[in-house]
Amino acid sequence: MAAQTKEIDIVAAFGGTGDYGQRFSVYIPNKDQAGEPVAQKEWIDSALRLLSEIGGGATAMPPVTGAWLNPKTDKLIIEEPVVVYTYVKPDVFVERLGELAAFVKRMGRETNQGSIGLEFDGEFFTVEDFSN
């Protein structure tokens, strides 16, 4: 028998709102490019605040073990970044994209990073130039 495909409006079924678009994530580092600790908590709090303003709420995942190979020193930095993400409201996201980019660059500069990891809609990318 052919399996029938059924159509459902899942958002309407829950009386929910479907304003949310693609997922945007920022990797918050806990070490700098030399392997020295950085004040991760304050950046997590700032990211949660900013992403909540953009998506109505945000989530910080538990720290995960990650590694970054410093191309200048060839030193492998083992770190525990925290991924903070939100499902963006597209209009607000576009409106505040400049502010978000400035936040990421400031975090890169002030925590002495070689690169900051980001994801948008499942696409991973890095920012390495932290100049304004």
Binding site: I8, V11, Y20, Q22, E123, F124, F125
Partner: protein, 159 residues
């Protein structure tokens, strides 16, 4: 040698799922262009998508694609989509690999055929070759051919 093949045959990725039977028709906001967002950050795109499942040429990725695309209309399940049946010559060595890969899957109660697995593998390979990249490669190739042709002409003129 036979022993190691038997070892490879010890595991099977079995998928029993009703995925795809329900289609969510909730309205979603318009998607934003990923490339525009990356450009806004002055970011560098990574060559692969985040998450292993989408990483091409893993058994898990092939299984995901088979689960998504294999549908039964009563008989042996076939691949959905606007597929055309084509005759493609494949080397015996490649076919053996494809057959081995296919032997590791079950989707529902069905075993996908090696041809269905081959179709998924071709799709994965082409997914990472954008039309602009192909176009660029073709131009580079044509330019290289022109350069070597001119070089040959110069050499024969000297001789």
């Amino acid at each position: 040698m036979e022993k190691s093949n038997a070892k490879i045959g010890d595991f099977k990725l079995v998928a029993r799922t009703a995925r795809g039977r329900l289609k969510n028709i909730s309205k979603k906001p318009t998607s934003l262009s990923v490339n525009r967002v990356i450009a806004a950050f002055g970011g560098k795109s990574a060559p692969v998508k985040a998450g292993n499942v989408k990483d091409p040429i893993t058994l898990l990725a092939i299984r995901e694609a088979l689960v998504d695309r294999l549908r039964s209309t009563g008989g042996r399940p076939s691949l959905t989509g606007d597929s055309l049946r084509q005759r493609v010559q494949i080397s015996a060595k490649d076919w053996k690999k494809i057959t081995t890969i296919a032997s590791h899957f079950e989707v529902g109660r069905h075993k996908p055929s090696p041809a269905q697995v081959a179709s998924i593998l071709i799709h994965f390979a082409l997914e990472h070759a954008s039309p602009s990249a192909i176009d660029q490669l073709m131009h580079t190739d044509i330019e290289n051919q022109d350069t070597s042709k001119a070089e040959r002409q110069r050499t024969s003129a000297r001789d």
